[in-house]
Symmetry: none
Subunit: 214 residues, 4 copies
DNA sequence: TATGAATGAGGATTCATTCAT
DNA sequence: GATGAATGAATCCTCATTCAT
């Protein structure tokens, strides 16, 4: 009689399937992964998966959507930062942390690949990407207004450049198994800083700071 | 009856198959592309393909190898440049030109994705990647020695950073269909220049101490 | 080098698959029959079937189309008959002969059932049915003009009635395994004759009054 | 806690499931209909169905049995008719009324199709069919004895012919969506009358000559 | 009884690869 | 070499049925 609506159970299992799928996709790729493998990884039967996701494609779609939500919340946090430049550094740190997990990078690559062939997934990915760039653009615009970013680029370009850096970082992780995010952290931070304010006016005045970066 | 095996014919057709496969992979991805589609695109029969390639996998392997050869020749050309800094710009231009073709970028993404799941393809891609970074490292080392690159990074880091920029550029093309390489050329060139020598010419006026080298 | 276009081989095998499918459908029904069973019956591998038919549904569609062609040729033969009434008897004999094969009747039942749920198959079946009734209508119209059919029905009604008799005959065969077409031939012929001209020629000659009465 | 098992409730729901199943089977056919669809149509949960029916097959079996009961009661009613010939007309009217519902005709077709492949269902259907023919045979025998049916057929044949007409009528409804039972009522009544006694009672009164000619 | 999540066998279809011609 | 029919393993997904709650 008492039918406790197990919303929690349902979404917990749904999430478990998502995690299993992410692990599988990171490992073998989307197409080569079979639904049976996902089920096995998630510890459920082959048919049960389809109570939670209409199709295999719906799984990757859900992954992309969830990544979008996460990105959104990360960006939302940034807007609260008083010092926007500082905020950008914070965000970059977050990205570096994510990139540290090779699975995450592999998954990102896999998602990008799938997006380039499946229009529906492509639309979701582009939506997320647009969201990210918009968020970065807002941040950049604030920094530019405060003259925290060296002239030569408008806010959109800054956002685009940072997005490319992030993509490049993830690509490095995915391609080169010897690549260490922590080891190369400095390289990427420098790339970002110099892109935004190559030893900006204040720094260049004080000259001696020139080497401090290495 | 006497069929002199024309080596030219053979390799011409082999190349035609490779081109057909590249077009297909760029369009649909490696796994979703069927060998029949490749044959159709190449204008041969389904069975004939296997006279030229042992398997489907051998096709993508050949593509990666060929890309490696091309990269090698491009890098070889750079070594002949007297002004290494100029050479780097030239190489970057080459990359920008390649990235302009969306098919090329999609193919690169597809190859990277396949590399992350198939160890054999992965090894080939990593080999190419290592070659690229080695070439860039040599260039960077020369530029550093000539003090054409601002301190803060060693040659390996410079090479890595440039590689990441290239990856990021390709990722932008593959992800965002509205992205225009030509329109954003400036952004990427600036990213490169500032990465190598922040504040470039103008800086050198105010603070020659910092980058007096260039 | 010599590539004889084996059109014959192709259509021969296609026909063999069709025959195998007809046997299976008659035995187990359309949905319960697996494509593997059809392949097994036809002596081919599971994948090969799909070189000849796009899908399982395409098989039953082809069966219906082929039945339509056969019906068309049978009806065409009738038009050549000088005595249309005699022609109708001939056609009815043909139908009785077909109904004698229980497999044929079962298949007809199965086709009808599938037609009632799949619109595409339904359209094909209705097309065949319309063709049959048109042919019968023409025959009936000729017979009516010659006063070979007793008044009370127009040509369309006659055609419809005969079609219903045929359906009923097939249904009897499919439903009752003890039913014998040959044993009950007389019953159906009588049903037809009385439907068309109760008391036949002699009546119409002696008592034309009989007609108007009903 | 004390749940008096209300027999009424139970059989009411059982009947509701049966009605839901009949609607589904008429619409989509037996095999293509899922138990979930039946449950949805009946407004119960997927598992609950199996408290009322052991299996999906048991549902169609119950439908056939129920149809048999109905047929039995209809035939029982006929036996009470003083004028058997009149009774037959009444029964035919009943059939025409049932055939007017396309769903009923589709269901009948579906049941027949399933009977031709599943021996158990086949047995039930044959049982019903035998019952029907027996009932008709009794009626026919009475009519023959009273000379209400024109010679040329024995009671069994009459019953068989009528059964075939009924099958044919249902087939027409199921096959041709433009077929109207009411519109063609006359055709079928005429078919029946002429089959039994061409120029019927009125003729026999006015022109007894007509009958003897056969 | 009622629920609906879980099960897992089964089915249509695809596709890389082989091979007879 | 060239052809394309043949193979059959593999895959996504469905669905009747069970069972814990």
């Amino acid at each position: 009689m008492a039918r406790p609506i197990k919303v929690e159970d349902h979404s917990a299992r749904r999430q478990a399937i998502l995690e299993a799928a992410k692990a599988c996709f990171a490992r073998k790729g989307f197409h080569p992964t079979t639904t049976a493998e996902i089920c096995s990884e998630a510890g459920i039967s082959t048919g049960n998966l389809f109570h939670y996701f209409r199709s295999k494609k719906a799984i990757i779609a859900a992954i992309v959507e969830q990544q979008g939500e996460e990105a959104k919340s990360h960006l939302a946090g940034l807007a609260d930062e008083p010092d926007l430049y500082e905020a950008l550094h914070g965000f970059f740190d977050l990205v570096l942390a994510m990139a540290s997990e090779r699975d995450f990078a592999n998954l990102a690559l896999e998602v990008a690949a799938e997006a380039s062939r499946d229009p529906d997934i492509g639309a979701l990915v582009r939506h997320n990407d647009a969201l990210l760039r918009e968020g970065l653009t807002v941040l950049a615009a604030g920094a530019i207004k405060r003259r925290q970013i060296m002239p030569g680029l408008d806010a959109t370009q800054v956002a685009l450049g940072i997005a490319a850096m992030i993509d490049g970082l993830f690509a490095r992780v995915a391609i080169d198994p010897e690549f260490s995010v922590q080891g190369q952290r400095n390289t990427f931070v420098l790339m970002l800083e110099r892109f935004l304010q190559p030893k900006a006016s204040d720094v260049s005045i004080e000259a001696p700071l020139c080497d401090e970066a290495h």
